[in-house]
């Protein structure tokens, strides 16, 4: 949880603690066999939570809020959605 001070002010960088992943109802799943590591998903992700690793794109689920923009932007349809059940 973010450590908020008087008036909702916080130390710079504090929002890194904000788990936007809690908002998610769908989870993006990358098929690494299809991924061509073009980086489009990372460019379009509003929460900067796609990282292009050695073997393909990887979602940071602490921040991924499940907007699924990445699915829409992936040129090779390497990303699919799964219902988040937790």
């Amino acid at each position: 949880m973010m450590d908020l001070l008087l008036g909702g002010v916080c130390k710079a960088g504090e929002s890194k603690k904000l788990e936007t992943g809690k908002w998610r109802s769908f989870r993006p799943v990358v098929d690494r066999n299809k991924c061509i590591k073009c980086g489009k998903c990372a460019d379009y992700c509003p929460d900067s939570c796609m990282e292009i690793k050695e073997d393909g794109a990887e979602v940071n689920l602490y921040y991924c809020k499940g907007c699924l923009i990445c699915i829409r932007e992936c040129p090779v349809k390497a990303i699919t959605k799964e219902v988040e059940e937790k």
């Binding site: 008036g7 130390k11 960088g13 929002s15």
Partner: protein
């Protein structure tokens, strides 16, 4: 302390007080009728009498945002507005209060459109009553001067830290001339002290203002405003008391009263109307009528306990409102009725709409209100309908 008494225009009296309190930043967007205040302050800055950053804005939204930023950076900040201008500031004032930024704002009370008007009533600041900002309503130019001097100390107190509105009726106060005693700038500056922020924007220790909060803490931040306004009660009492000791003026703390002791009917009102009621009460008393006055000086924090105590055993209360919550009635009257809920003494409370949109309220109207209230007393229960003074019923036929 001895001051210098001069015949001043209301706006000038405010500018004199603000100059002596030395705000670091003043933001301005001109809207009638508060323009004179900012014109005078601009003159003080250009002549070197006041060393402030004088920032002109492109709208009231910007004017409020500028003082928000200035206050967040630890500056003593001041602005003024009226009417539609206050409505345009509304969003920023909410943020200012919740972020706990003690900006001082002169609200020159004026009605809201449509039709377009420049006449005084309290609809503008009433629309901002839930922001968390404090509100002091003044009845005279001397009080306008005094309240501005007091306001910086109240708002900037580390236990309060809330924006404060000094509300004064447009024209009737802002543009009228009255004798005002002005004290030496040095004495006022000393009384007003300096702003010592508990936190501020500083590149060496970066902070985020306006961060996100989830459902787990948002309610807590709203409740914190309730606590801060409770602290403001004590602070207003102590600052007005100290002001009286130093400068010899007292215009009331949360409320003021006039001849309430054995009163059988008490009039409750705010703003310039209060001075008129004082005169009417004296005249009625001279005729042997037991009339008293309770002036609500701070609409926020709302002085329910003080009002109840001041009304004592009076069986009849007439509340004079200059603002309307459509389909409910006068806003002051509604809050007064709520204050009396559960109280052992249950006076009959008669709500009057008087002066909305600048409709004339003189001593004759006040006396008429007293007569109507005395007659209405038997029938008018706590849920009684508002009586609209001077309403032209022919207008609707």
């Amino acid at each position: 302390m001895k001051g210098k008494t001069a015949i001043l225009e209301g706006s000038r009296a405010v500018a004199e007080a603000v100059r002596a309190c030395r705000p670091d930043v003043i933001s301005v967007y001109p809207i009638t009728p508060q323009t004179h205040i900012l014109e005078d302050l601009a003159r003080f800055v250009s002549s070197g009498q006041l060393k402030s950053q004088f920032v002109r804005a492109d709208s009231e939204f910007s004017a409020a945002s500028i003082v928000y930023g200035a206050s967040a950076a630890g500056a003593r900040a001041y602005t003024a507005s009226a009417s539609q201008g206050l409505l345009l500031m509304n969003e920023v004032i909410y943020a200012m209060a919740s972020t706990r930024l003690p900006v001082v704002l002169t609200a020159v009370n004026r009605a809201i459109s449509a039709p377009i008007t420049i006449q005084p009533d309290h609809q503008d600041t009433m629309s901002l009553r839930d922001t968390g900002a404090l509100q002091i309503h003044v009845e005279s130019l001397q009080e306008a001067y005094d309240a501005h001097v007091q306001s910086f100390r109240i708002a900037e107190d580390p236990e309060v830290l809330l924006p404060i509105f000094i509300c004064m009726d447009g024209w009737v106060l802002s543009h009228s001339y009255e004798p005002v005693t002005v004290f030496p700038d040095e004495a006022i500056s000393e009384f007003a002290g300096t702003f010592q922020p508990v936190q501020k924007l500083d590149p060496a220790k970066p902070l985020t203002y306006g961060s996100y909060a989830d459902q787990d803490v948002l309610m807590e931040y709203r409740y914190a405003l309730m606590l801060a306004q409770e602290k403001a009660r004590e602070k207003i009492r102590s600052v007005t008391k100290e002001y009286k000791e130093v400068f010899g003026h007292f215009d009331g703390d949360l409320i003021d009263t006039h001849r309430t002791e054995d009163a059988e009917i008490i009039l409750v009102a705010m703003g310039s109307m209060v001075s008129t009621i004082r005169a009417a009460v004296d005249e009625l008393r001279a005729e042997g009528r037991k009339v008293g006055l309770v002036k609500v000086r701070t609409f926020r924090p709302f002085p329910e306990e003080e009002i109840i105590k001041a009304c004592g055993k009076a069986p009849l209360i007439a509340v004079l409102d200059k603002s309307l919550s459509v389909n409910t009635g006068g806003i002051l009257a509604t809050e007064i009725k709520a204050a009396f809920y559960g109280n052992p003494v249950q006076p009959v409370i008669v709500p009057f709409m008087a002066g909305l949109g600048g409709k004339e309220v003189n001593r004759r109207v006040i006396k008429e209100i007293v007569d109507i209230a005395c007659r209405a007393g038997d029938k008018q229960g706590p849920r009684g309908d508002t009586i609209w003074m001077g309403l032209d019923h022919g207008f609707f036929s």
